[in-house]
Amino acid sequence: MNINSVGFLLHEGWLNIRRHLWMSLAALATVAVTLMVLGGTTWTAYRIHEIVAQEPEQFNVIDVFMKPATSRQDTLAVQTALKANPLVRGVTLTTKEQAWAKLGSSDPTLTTALQDNPLMDRLQVQARSSNKVAQLAHWLKTQKQFPEIMQVNDADYEVGVLVGFAAIVRNIGLAVALALAAATLLIVYNTIRLTVYSRRREIQIMKLVGATPWFIRCPLIFEGLFHGICGSVIASIALLIAAAQVSRFTETLHSPLIAHAASAIGPVQVFTFLGITGALVGLAGSILAIHRFVRL
């Protein structure tokens, strides 16, 4: 097979796609949706694991929220008392006024709408080591000497929630993606079946004039690959746009967990992973249809 033939085969494959454009678009859209679900869930789950697996320093911090009515003096007293604990390395106070000002700078419409500051003073308790975090959190939650404390959020809890969420996302996502992948395979299979039917004269002539089986299969395989790869490009672009939006949203949350987590996943990884998956789905659909409907 020379370069001339490759061009000819690609042209023949393109003619196939044009002949039943709507069916091709349906196949392409299904591939795109499937890969969006698969890529979206896999990415989300991976991202959560990435955050959890980060340098555990940020999980050494326990957030202690004071009751709204607590006076600043009482808060400072609690801060001093906590600093005296041998498990504690340091305690940082973020006053409700500071939190309000920060919220106002990032989302002025919210502070304007609310008018009154509903936030609480927050003490960020840094544990001396990460393996003491659970013990320190338990002590903070169970002690009675500080009635001003309203809520204690430790990293273990946050990590637990995140990991559980990641597992749910991954499992549901994989189940949905598998079901969609099966549907996609069937749609690609049916599209190629239609092509085989509409190209029956060409295939008959190809056989009679002595075209090799690969020459007959190639335009059909190209068609399957086209659906898979184009679908993956659409899915990748949609996912990257969605990821950028989510990232912008999480930045507004000012979460100490998500904001600083670097990610190994970028556009190259998304295009590569979805491209390969899409190509494999397209290839499998076309090979199945060829095996079933083309008698060589």
């Binding site: 097979m1 020379n2 001339n4 190809m206 004039v209 075209a211 090799t212 020459f215 007959i216």
Partner: protein, 253 residues
Amino acid sequence: MTTTVANVATRPLNQRTAISLKSVSVLYPGHCQALSDISLEISEGEFVFIVGASGAGKSTLLKLLTHEEVCTSGTVIVEGFTVSGMTHSQIPALRRRVGVVYQNFGLLPDRTVYENVAFAMRVTGAGRRDVVRRIPEVLELVGLQSRPDAFPGQLSGGEQQRVAIARALVNRPKLLLADEPTGNLDPETSLGIVDLLHDINATGATVLVATHDVAIVDKSERRVLEFADGVLVRDEACGRYGRVALETCEEQA
């Protein structure tokens, strides 16, 4: 059942064999005997008519030669290829040596004359330059050099059959098989097609024509193989559609 051959055609000893069948039988499912114990040889450059009623085995014989059908027993050799027992990977090489023309033309309606003929070249791996060089030659041979951009729907039946012949010839096959090539054509056009087949034969190609057309067989007076119920009942070197006295032919020879 024994094969009755009225007059086995003779051929010059120095000619190479294009087609050789030895004790070939084809049995379709349901114990339907399509061909029964056929033995024959056709030399390179011969022009042969295959005649007989519908279901006599004419088309089966042609399909055997391109491996569209496989014989149940016996040996089929075409252009040096032992077709019986051929592997799938060997079939394309055989088919590149054999051109086929059908009654219904089998053209691609959404492609022009040029594209129809070019398609047969491109799918065998021919480059664009070869196509550009070869197609005007072959269109001129079939008399369609002025209609390369016409679509099959814009052509008469005879012209469509000429395109089909051009397509069959474009890869320079050694053997041309025509299954009822004049079946859809009026008598005058039919004679034109047969003249074209004779011209092709004159270039050295072996030509086999399966037909019901009495006029073209009688006018041509070439070798005739007659089949009846899958049996070769007549092989005349210079035959007519029906049985005739041999003297006429011998006189002409």
